[in-house]
Amino acid sequence: MRLSLPVPRVPLVPDPLRRAPVPRSLEEVATVAAEADPGTEE
């Protein structure tokens, strides 16, 4: 669910909102540390 209005990026010009580039695959830039098992479904 999105709670914000997406503002489209205009190609070929600098983004006036100076937003960071977002890769298509987020797994490439994500890091997961050691996490405890959150448990089973309640």
Binding site: L26, V32, E42
Partner: protein, 145 residues
């Protein structure tokens, strides 16, 4: 907290990241004594895999509405030569920061004034002295490569 709940939180973080408002986001949730979610997404400027190593990032402090990095040559936040430091300015010059190269973390709490005011130089000087008077320690495992 169920696995579905933690993944739901992570999906929300991914959506937040996709907005492009922040180049990097980290979240850590600890519940009933256990870290159930500890993940990061994206990279701060200069720290991505394709970025150059320890070159000076830029003269001006990379601004963020949240956490900010220090800078090698001049950082009004954490003093000079603190490009490994990171912390939060708060809204009224209330600082919380950590500097892995100095094995130092600190907090500077004031009664709070907006970001710029005539005496701001004294705050900058306090942070400069802290950095200057705290020698760097042996390589920290927390320091960025």
């Amino acid at each position: 907290m169920t696995p579905r709940a933690t993944e739901s939180v992570w999906r929300a973080v991914e959506g937040f990241y996709r907005s492009g408002a922040h180049p990097a986001i980290q979240i850590c949730l600890r519940r009933e004594g256990e870290v159930v979610l500890d993940r990061a997404i994206g990279y701060a400027r200069g720290n991505g895999p394709g970025d150059a190593g320890r070159e000076p990032k830029r003269l001006a402090t990379p601004y963020s509405a949240g956490f900010m990095l220090g800078v090698r040559w001049f950082s009004p936040l954490y003093g000079p030569d603190t490009d490994q430091a990171f912390g939060h300015l708060g809204f009224t010059n209330i600082l919380g920061w950590a500097d892995p190269e100095r094995s130092l973390s600190g907090a500077l709490i004031t009664s709070g004034k907006p970001v710029l005011y005539p005496e701001i130089g004294e705050l900058w000087n306090t942070m400069r002295v802290i950095a200057a008077e705290t020698p760097k320690t042996a390589a920290s495992t927390l320091a960025l490569p």
